[in-house]
Amino acid sequence: MPTIENNSTAADRPNDRYPPGDLAIWIFILAELAVFAIAFVGYAFARTYNVELFDEYQQHLDRRSALINTLVLITSSYFVVRAVHAIREDDSRRCVQWLSAALLMGALFLFIKGAEFAHHFSLGINLSTNTFYMFYLSLTIFHFMHVIMAMVILAAILLKAKRGGYSARDHRGVETGASYWHMVDLVWLILFPLVYVMH
């Protein structure tokens, strides 16, 4: 498996052939992104046959919660970036602090989104309600599961970092988890406008 020199900042290595972290996670990330891309395009073309239905039921979504969740995920991604920078400076303590903050943001996202799901389910809305809800629930629940998985990965990295398992020379694990977390953020950045705003 290709490796990168880890005892440097990103700015020191402008001509790497491979992205930060383990290359295997990047193959996994691309596979995940391909699935989401197909679902996004499927949503957009399904809408062409049901424009009024999609526009009507989109108005029932809680756009303010989605805005807050977007800001939360963007901020969590920023915290993860700072964690990577901290460990590159051999500062495990700050790395742990930034990772903890990112995890808190992830938990906040799950809480807000979970409340939104609970509201829908209390109204009897499910995948069979109509085409719009089929896409909306499939996309957002699938993404929700990815956030949980990314949090598990980040928590494992946090525990190892707490034990001093990473350093400026050896922090590929932190970069690997960070890349996956950013992928989850990236997907939401398209999902939010597509499902909640565009009409």
Binding site: P19, V81, L189
Partner: protein, 94 residues
């Protein structure tokens, strides 16, 4: 003044990127209230999302430092579906 600490520069750049993305997200949220036609708003909002996605790929995922194949998949992932989604919304509007 030139800062010799590359890590500090990385932090400053990423902080700027984060604030830019927060700003673009707020523009997206309030875009409905600008009074443009629906298709114009939708395509504008999509463009902002693609720009934010590019910022995440280039700065947070650090792909701007990568050369060759691995520099491009995220950009392609953003713009190929972006074009198809735009086409779908255009078709729905016409």
């Amino acid at each position: 003044m030139h800062d010799e600490n590359p890590s500090r520069n990385d932090n400053r750049t990423c902080t700027l990127v984060w604030l830019t993305m927060i700003g673009l997200t707020l523009v997206t949220y309030f875009s409905d209230k600008l009074g443009w036609n629906d298709l114009g708003v939708s395509l504008g909002v999509l463009l902002l999302a693609l720009i934010k996605g590019h910022l995440v790929g280039a700065y947070f995922m650090e792909l701007r430092h990568v050369r060759g194949f691995w520099r491009w998949p995220i950009t392609l992932w953003l713009f190929v579906p972006g074009i198809l989604i735009s086409a779908a919304f255009y078709l729905a509007d016409s």
